[in-house]
Homo-oligomer: 355 residues x 3
């Protein structure tokens, strides 16, 4: 047992059998919800680790694409399960919450903790503004259907969903172009093909082990997501929380916790550019790839999912986007800025709780 | 015929007699509309060329002012004709569409095609931020009457139009100050006095020729505009397009096509700063000069024209303005950014179509 | 009398007895209003001067904190008196107007007059973007309760005021962190601990004199504020001005006039960084300290004061914030930019007048 390293995941994994047992023996849906939520966190962590292992066998570009894409795997699985259950508003809230969580919570924690440990931190200014521009464009595109939605529906009943499908197509096309750009341009990095968070390392796992871990973790997340989504309605009633709050704060936290921790750890190591790339890149991924993909998947599943962000979601996204852009733009950060980002996230969270 | 250079305008000019014949012999208003629209494009091109020729005889400052002002001549003529016809919403849509077209379509094409040909392109960052600031201020001023409009009308019935007149006065005063500034400051250039798109050249035309071409092209545009505006209502009904879509996408494209091509050609020659100056300068001109001038002209013609941008127009202008500012601010562009600008324009265009 | 220096305050102070006499002998409330308003201006000036004198005895950090905090003393007194009188909308309008006045009017005058006298002016770009980020974050936090307010009230009746109290607590916590940061970080300056506007100087007054001047001026401002607030309702009826206009334009001007003059004088001396720090710092102070403090004080006084900015106030704050940020971001200013800021302030002022 000399080489045994304590791993937070070993403890959290215990929640998985608890969730299954609670579901089977009827220990109450609040227990199911909490256990399923906790269980997803280490599973997403294993997906991240398996991806990192795989990238040791690929070139850096392909590896970066894998890192960026599978970073949102847990989030994608939860929302697909929610679509299957017809919980459309939960999906939209969760997309919004993922972007807010990355831009405010993760950036806030990274900047706060990184700043407290390392003092004023610098990051690549030119890259930051370039990503910020992509972010602003992606958010504008994402919100146009919602802003125009009510008016579109008046004149062309049920035109919002086909319009959202069209916008989804355009965004995935842009996403594909972005991947192509990052593979062909002389720039080494792009927020869509994120570098490894670890220093160059010998792989610990074989390709086969990594793929098996990926598959098992994915299947387990599917089960946990079904337990989670199936118990949400009950939890909302029993705990008196709003469904909106659960969708916009709790679900994204669960799905992204593992990735969030990586971004914060990297900031503590004073690699602020990479930390920013993880948070911004993940937001971009969700806006340009996950959200459109969900709209398209929903259409295939016969569920009407449109980019129907409500007013709070629109305001939160726009303000978080603008705030994040300004934080990034000056190319340096201090812990005060982190505290302010967290304060904004907290204020939004409380507002969502009251709605 | 050795010196004969093929010119796109020779072909497009054929649309002018078609428009007149179609109007006279009743070939259908859709034919009139299309022919008039096509006919305006080369005429605006001739105004641009005649202006360029004239600037060879003036100093660079006066030439720059001529270039900037006459660059929007076709747009101005079409909208005045629309005011005369009482098509107030068409005018407002067309002002919005011109700004959107410059910021998203033209910048998008310039950045995309310039980037594909020349790789990453740089432009004068300090100048770009200075213009962007002017742009943000101009758009804020432009939208205040619209945002406050509904509320103003409740308490002071019919106060919106006199208020718009007052704002128009302030904006033209600011425009005049801007011209004065660009003539007196040590800066060589300003977006309001745009430099020639051609390298220093010997004039091909005499002053007299240039003025005659200007006059003939202007008169011809008046006739084409009347045909265009007169047939819009019919086209809207027959083709099933919304009047809003025609006003915000088609009309500005027709009026600005010639200038748009110049901006793109300049970007292909890797002169990105000038390309940006044409697109941003033209937007500024419309916001600070053309729009206020139209409000004042309308008042003289007894038509009530206020800065009554609707919600879509406000949202589009604000998002295009912010997006453009971020594109400009990092001082460099790549084709991906161009593709994103075009995607945003396309999404907006489709949204306008559905409204 | 050789050393007698003419001081604008000696003349304006004459308004104080006029206000008291007018109140006592019933010369009409319009006279009371105008005299009280004029009387506050020199009193706020004396508070500023006494603070400057005190800072000669403290270290620069403590002095900076004093300067920043007491710079808004007059504003704070007027609004507390207004809370006591139950004029809640006046308080909110006055908070908005103070921020607008600092960002548009004071920056506009500083940039215009400084630019006319000194040509293109440069200021510390890195510091400007850092302050701008704080500003954007503070404004976002300030507006969230208002934006979410109507919806919060629907589900949780009367939840807006407790929610505002919570947000106020978070903001004062952030303000405290900001002070702590500026005292501990290696940066020499922060917008929350503003340096002296004067060059290092020997104190003219003893600490005792300075404190006595502070106390007398404060007490006198309390009396003037009561006269001012007590006569506003009458003035609104008699002059036909809207209460909103008085609250958002007149009251903040009166409370901040002395500080505004300092910022402009400093700009004339080509110390643009300090001028910006005064204007931005004062806005930040109001957003992060004065506004939350008022909400808390009101709660203790049993008055329901929430961050209930109306639509105009939200739009004005957001546009002024964004415009100011862009002005600051390029690190240089010219008189044209000043003229544009003033034009925006004028247009907003006229719009407020009509509402």
């Amino acid at each position: 047992m000399k080489n045994f390293k304590f791993d937070y995941r070993h403890v959290l994994m215990l929640a998985i059998p608890v969730a299954l047992l609670a579901e089977t023996f009827g220990w109450g849906l609040v227990v199911v919800f909490i256990a399923a939520a906790v269980g997803i966190i280490p599973l997403a962590g294993y997906i991240g680790e398996a991806t990192e292992e795989l990238t040791a066998y690929t070139g850096p570009k392909i590896g970066g694409l894998l890192n960026a894409t599978l970073g949102n795997a847990a989030e994608l699985i939860i929302t697909i399960v929610a679509i299957k259950a017809g919980a459309v508003e939960l999906v939209i809230a969760s997309i919004t919450g993922s972007i807010l969580g990355n831009l405010l919570l993760v950036m806030g924690l990274s900047v706060l903790l990184g700043g407290l440990k390392n003092g004023k931190q610098k990051f690549d200014r030119s890259r930051a503004t370039s990503y910020a521009t992509m972010m602003i464009l992606a958010m504008a595109a994402l919100m146009i259907p919602a802003i125009f939605g009510d008016f579109i529906d008046i004149n062309h009943h049920e035109a919002l969903q086909p319009f959202s499908l069209g916008v989804a197509g355009v965004m995935i096309f842009i996403y594909g172009l972005g991947i192509y750009y990052s593979f062909t341009s002389s720039d080494e990095e792009s927020p869509l093909t994120r570098p490894s968070a670890h220093d160059a390392h010998e792989p610990k796992w074989s390709v086969r082990t990594a793929v098996i871990v990926l598959i098992i973790a994915t299947v387990a997340i599917v089960f946990m997501s079904e337990a989670l989504v199936g118990s949400i309605e009950h939890v909302v009633t029993e705990l008196g929380w709003s469904e909106f709050f659960v969708g916009i704060i709790i679900v994204p936290l669960v799905g992204n916790a593992a990735e969030h921790m990586v971004a914060v750890q990297v900031a503590l190591k004073n690699r602020m550019t990479l930390s920013m790339e993880i948070a911004l890149g993940s937001s971009l991924q969700i806006a340009l790839f996950v959200a459109p993909l969900l709209v398209i998947i929903a259409a295939f599943m016969g569920v009407e999912l449109a980019f129907s962000f409500n007013t709070f979601e629109q305001v939160s996204l726009a303000s978080a986007g603008i705030v994040a852009v300004f934080i990034f733009q000056d190319g340096e950060s201090n812990w005060m800025e982190g505290a302010q980002l967290l304060a904004l996230y907290a204020i939004l969270g409380v507002a969502f709780f009251f709605i």
